[in-house]
Symmetry: none
Subunit: 186 residues, 4 copies
DNA sequence: GATGAATGAGTTTTCATTCAT
DNA sequence: TATGAATGAAAACTCATTCAT
């Protein structure tokens, strides 16, 4: 495998397994099967490495979620589709979820710009605006809508990954989507 | 002030200001106005200190949220009341929010037991069960309900603290409560 | 002994014994009989440590050389006295010489300000100006005079320390002073 | 250009620009426009490279300085000529000066034999001995004479390169030569 | 000959914890 | 109780050198 890729993957694995706190360059190198110095051929340092990983995940997430978006479908259908894609993304690669959560809540850890926390939410914004224009989605502030979409999705994934629920159980997701939809539909 | 208290408060302040990653015992001592060694008179070590702080916040949170709970009120009233109390808790002491979020998403950082992540959700569980029994709340799995309550609350506080919305604006909270309620009511 | 002092002395010893190139914090700590981390209690880092040592030596040198200066003496007497004091300074503490030489010729190693290279020459400037005013010293540019004073002194010390000559041999210094004086006197 | 040559030149440039301390093989390679590994085709390692460069400069210096030497001229004329050639050497290629100085004062850095420090002084020794034999130069120890010749020359070049004086100014050199001569002539 | 990715030992620096006062 | 200087293990990072291509 490409070494840069291997290093990023090993960070992902380690952050998920042991948390940011226990992450160190030696472990990353070992997990990736490279020498410690090799990391510095691909990244300026720990910070750069972490940021690069976050950027990669965000890009993949947005791409995958927006993939499900189809202008010819109804807002509700798009909402369900996006929820579905987003949940799939994290369920397929649970490490991504853990990493993103830890990254998001680590103020000034590895980022200058707090706003990038919200990069992950871009697909949601798109849908929200279209729904409000069409009068299908409640006319309440964007931030509130956002919280009603992102919040439940985030928490349900967390609960699933903590084995507090099983989103793969038949009907489970449908119920969730419907309920979440009721919070935002006009 | 009591030294133990001062130390806990300074952890809270520092985690919020600089994040877990940049937290260290010297800074904690300085911020608290005590000597580094003094911390060890009150806590076994860094881990114990962090855990003690988390426990303290959880206790305060649960107490404050459950304070608003009144068996003679309707489920919806109790829901609104709880949401309100929970949001107040974090808006009054924003450092608590940042700390709890970071603590929660730092797997195996300072805790063995992942379950304590969910200690904060105890008040919600109480309400949920009563509402379902009374047929007022949707008969869907607890975890899904939980995600529909905790998720939005969590996200809206985050957005407020990031100045992406203002929960103190007239009507803002009411709209939020109503929407969140629609997601869980039968 | 004072630990800060011990650390500075051990840098001096090591730079003289092995050169800047082989200097490292571990060796400094060992030589000083302290833990590696202790150095950082007294100095911000390696750079700060080196600069502090240089500043200390310059201060000692200037103090010792100017001590011999007496306004009631002739310029020539003062010249001899200063040469003598300067040579004594380095012969008594030969490590100082090696350190200062290496520091001086290490561009951008540990210093921003190239001008501080010339701090050591302050006593010479004083004497030069007075001698020129009195018409006893040649009326040629300061820099040339400086080179005729500092240059020989510097080289003779180097040769002595390299055992190429012996400045303690009877009459040796006197001959040197006289010759050096002939270069600058009118 | 010849690669070996390019590598040597790039060391010279880098040592002058950033000092020995910041010199490293990667920078050398980049500056020379070759791959890091290529250096090892021409030199055994860093030490060998540095020593080769020093040897090259010494050879060039001695050749250039001795070029001006003419047995049919007077000792004084030869002295002036040598001073002139030596100063020209460093003023034409200032990097040489910085390199030689740093090399000289880095004990045990790259050389076993301290005596090679004095290789540069060979031309001076030649003149000195002839002058003493002829009774034109003071009958004082060689080392003292050496310090009176090499010392001022060294310092004046340093001051010139540090822009503290200008040896190209009309008459400047002549004054310097005369003064330096007065220190050594009988 | 030439490359430059890879190595890993070595370096600087940090920091939780201890302990003499 | 309280201190804070001191520790030293562990962390991030550097860099001379090698070697497969």
């Amino acid at each position: 495998m490409d070494k840069r890729e291997a290093i990023l993957k090993s960070v992902l694995k380690l952050v998920n397994r042991e948390g940011f706190y226990h992450l160190n360059m030696k472990k990353i190198a070992q997990e990736a099967g490279v020498a410690a110095g090799t990391i510095y051929l691909y990244f300026k340092g720990k910070e750069d490495l972490i940021n690069a990983l976050y950027a990669m995940i965000v890009a993949e997430f947005n791409q995958q979620v927006l993939e499900g978006y189809d202008d010819s479908k109804t807002v509700k259908e798009n909402f369900f589709e996006m929820m579905s894609k987003a949940i799939d993304f994290y369920l397929d690669q649970p490490d991504n979820f853990s990493f993103v959560e830890q990254y998001t809540y680590a103020p000034f850890l590895f980022k200058e710009n707090q706003d990038e926390n919200f990069l992950l939410l871009l697909p949601i914004y798109k849908m929200m605006r279209e729904g409000k224009t069409a009068g299908i989605i409640r006319n309440i502030p964007d931030a509130i809508l956002l919280s009603l979409i992102h919040g439940p999705m985030n928490t349900i994934v967390k609960l699933h990954l903590a084995h507090k629920t099983d989103l793969n159980k038949k009907g489970a997701r449908q119920k969730f989507y419907e309920a979440a939809w009721d919070a935002i539909c006009a």
